[in-house]
């Protein structure tokens, strides 16, 4: 038994967060809303990413935004079943991928198609799920990218498990797992953090806090001071970053990935951003938010901020801007062409993928469908 006298400083003077697991009072930022430098203290301990990486991020964000707009247009034309836009979240979509090596893994959600394209996954394959011709169009092993997950947060324990597998095998793989603000309320989010911490799994959980879960604002989602605060309960460091500041997002995510790779275990990053578009093309956001709010966030546009920052550093010319635009147009031209026809979805394939080997029962049912298709 210890006595009060032996630990005189116990409650009164001990810092609430001796291990430094809580986020700083303000989100990490390098840029002000207009792209000029933020006050020095906002950077915390983070290093500024080098200009080459930021130039790459700029180009990727321009391409990503154009891709996103094209996907929205294709949905209106009936080419996609649904499209959840990530407009306004470009810094997170691109930063999460550029922080990774090709050998690292990404666990995306339905919202993160722009991240898939940034990972150089073929745009048509990336849209297969939302187009409705299969549930995942790319090869997860070849691309080191899990299928986009729709049941919220259910992929996070998978990310923890895959990261744990990497550690067990002595590989230096890191896993980046994406989730929304709403998804942090699901039990699987909490189990994933706990397991990742216990297994010292090299995984970065990136919460894209775009302020809404469909219509439900963050204030109805959590009573915590921030979503990054959720790490401390599991012994996981939580970092909060301005999610519309591409410099800060890259600084924090590359650092978090390094931490995970070094064997120090998981990191939880909350990026404060904003969903500029409705939840999906099917949503009517006028029912739950003011137009002014959307306009306010548009003044913190991540592409504009990076543009201003790079120009101020003589790292972006008009030619660079046109080149990025041209890359974007090439991608969407190809996308439009290849999405023009009806997709080649074959219902017979249904029976091929239920098990490694179709059962006799499935083969019988496949026969019924084949007979029916043959008849018509």
């Amino acid at each position: 038994m210890t006595t009060q006298a032996e630990h005189p400083a116990s409650s009164a003077a001990a810092p609430a967060d001796p291990a430094g697991l809580l986020p700083a009072a303000e989100p990490v930022a390098f840029l002000d809303d207009d792209g000029s430098p933020a006050p020095e203290h906002r950077r915390g301990r983070y290093r500024e990413p080098d200009l080459a990486l930021l130039r790459e991020a700029y180009s990727r964000m321009v391409v990503g935004r154009r891709f996103d707009a094209q996907a929205t247009a294709l949905t209106k034309q009936g080419r996609l079943a649904v499209y959840p836009s990530s407009r306004g979240q470009e810094a997170c979509q691109v930063g999460s991928v550029l922080a990774l090596r090709p050998t690292d893994w990404l666990f995306p959600t339905y919202r993160d198609t722009m991240a898939l394209v940034t990972r150089d996954i073929d745009a048509v394959e990336a849209l297969t799920l939302l187009r409705g011709n299969w549930h995942c169009g790319y090869d997860p092993h070849a691309t080191r990218t899990a299928p986009q997950c729709t049941p919220l947060a259910t992929h996070l324990p998978h990310a923890a498990g895959l990261a744990y597998a990497a550690r067990r095998k002595g590989e230096d793989t890191v896993v980046m797992a994406l989730v929304g603000d709403g998804g942090t309320s699901e039990g699987d989010f909490h189990e994933a953090l706990n397991f990742a911490a216990i297994f010292a799994a090299p995984v970065v959980f990136l919460v894209q806090n775009n302020q809404y879960a469909i219509s439900v604002p963050l204030s109805d989602q959590t009573a915590a001071a921030s979503l990054a605060d959720k790490g401390i309960g599991y012994g996981v460091p939580g970092v909060r970053v301005d999610g519309n500041d591409p410099v800060a997002v890259l600084a924090v995510l590359t650092d978090a990935v390094e931490t995970a790779r070094s064997g120090a275990g998981p990191v939880l990053v909350e990026a404060d951003t904003y969903r500029v578009e409705p939840h999906t093309n099917a949503d009517d956001d006028t029912r739950y938010r003011e137009h002014d709010e959307v306009e306010t966030w548009k003044h913190r546009d991540p592409v504009d901020r990076l543009d201003a920052y790079l120009r101020a550093n003589d790292a972006l010319s008009d030619d660079d801007v046109s080149a990025a635009g041209a890359r974007a147009e090439t991608l969407v031209d190809d996308l439009r062409t290849r999405m023009a026809g009806d997709p080649d979805a074959d219902p017979r394939e249904l029976f091929a993928h239920v098990f490694a080997e179709p059962t006799s029962q499935l083969r019988e049912q496949a026969g019924w469908l084949a007979a029916e298709l043959g008849e018509t």
Binding site: A81, V82, Y110, L129, L130, R131, G132, N133, W134, H135, T150, P151, L152, T154, G182, G183, S185, E186, G187, D188, A213, I214, S215, V216, D220, Q221, T222, A282, D283, R287, Y288, P343, A345, D346, P347, E349, L350, F351, V354, Q361, L362, Q365, L369, E372, L373
Partner: protein, 329 residues
């Protein structure tokens, strides 16, 4: 109030509204049910009229929604929980199966859970995965849960009120592809004269073959019956309505007249409701049957991507083919 033509979505809304007016303890809770009125607008306007204390936009967690509903119910509230889509009930499945279903039993009848869990279900809406499933058999297989489903606006209006009034937990499946189909609803009818929640209904009388269905497939079977009528075949359509308990008296009576039965559902074939219906009809009506019971169901695969869902789902032609097989036996 006079008779009004309304959609299924509107009818559930009107039924909930009436249940809430009749009893302060009725609460609506779920994801996006308040300000947005639900992604299908089934709870549209309820928060405005009954307040945020009775129509609650919960945090995003199905286990939390059902679990807290249990606690509320223990103190006399009557929560109506909305699950946004069929495929998203599973984070709440443990609470439903291990707790909601068993509380009455394990407490020796001392604890009652008057909870309604509304689930829009079924396919043919062109959605991505997890938005078109038919998980009713998982729940019907679980003792302690009542499982019902409406196929039209009139039933939607009354059944949701009956479900709320029941002291047992009810999983209430709503056929989302039919949400916007209309029927005449007369709220002035005496509630005591309305068909009991657990009863099936002969929706269309006929002589040659009995077709039993529920939820979204009732309309498909009615369409099949009218196509068959053009060819001189008379199909009797039975809407099962309640899947647990599964009161098959109406079906037995029908099969004893027609001698033939086809069961139709969107859900996968193996161990689906159709299997139970076929087994019991075989037990009860063996000497009346002229042909084996035919099943028309989804295939034993996960729900397919939207582009091929119409090849997966039972349709009018498959129902008619099954009718033909039965008649040709």
């Amino acid at each position: 109030m006079s008779a009004e033509s309304m959609t299924i979505a509107k009818a559930v809304n009107a039924g909930l509204r009436r249940a809430m007016e009749g009893d302060d303890h009725v609460l609506v809770m779920g994801e996006d049910v308040g300000r947005l009125g639900g992604v299908f607008r089934v709870t549209d306007g309820l928060q405005k009229d009954f307040g945020e204390d009775r129509v609650i936009d919960t945090p995003l967690a199905e286990g939390g929604i059902i679990g807290t509903a249990v606690g509320l119910a223990l103190r006399g509230y009557r929560p109506v929980c909305e699950i946004q889509f069929d495929g998203f009930v599973f984070p709440g499945y443990d609470q439903i199966v291990s707790q909601v279903a068993k509380m009455h039993f394990r407490s020796g009848g001392r604890l009652r859970l008057p909870i309604v869990i509304r689930i829009p279900y079924g396919g043919s809406i062109g959605a991505v995965e997890h938005h078109s499933e038919s998980p009713e058999a998982y729940f019907a297989h679980t003792p302690g849960l009542k499982v019902v489903t409406c196929s039209n606006a009139l039933d939607a209006y009354w059944m949701v009120q009956q479900a709320v009034a029941l002291d047992d937990p009810v999983v209430f499946f709503e056929p989302k592809r039919r949400y916007y189909e209309k029927a005449e609803v007369d709220p002035a009818v005496d509630a005591a004269d309305v068909l009991a929640l657990e009863s099936a209904r002969v929706t269309l009388p006929g002589d040659d073959v009995t077709v039993a269905a529920y939820g979204p497939m009732v309309k498909t079977c009615l369409d099949a019956a009218s196509a068959a009528a053009d060819e001189g075949r008379s199909i009797e359509v039975v809407d099962l309505r309640s899947l647990s308990p599964l009161e098959l008296g109406t079906v037995y009576e029908s099969v004893r007249r027609t001698g033939r039965l086809v069961v139709v559902h969107e859900a996968q074939r193996t161990l689906g409701i159709g299997a139970e219906v076929a087994a019991r009809v075989t037990e009860e009506c063996f000497y009346s049957l002229e042909a084996p019971v035919q099943r028309v169901t989804g295939y034993d695969t996960p729900y397919p991507p939207a582009r091929v869902e119409e090849q997966y789902l039972p349709d009018l032609d498959r129902v008619l083919d099954a009718v033909d097989r039965s008649l040709a036996y």
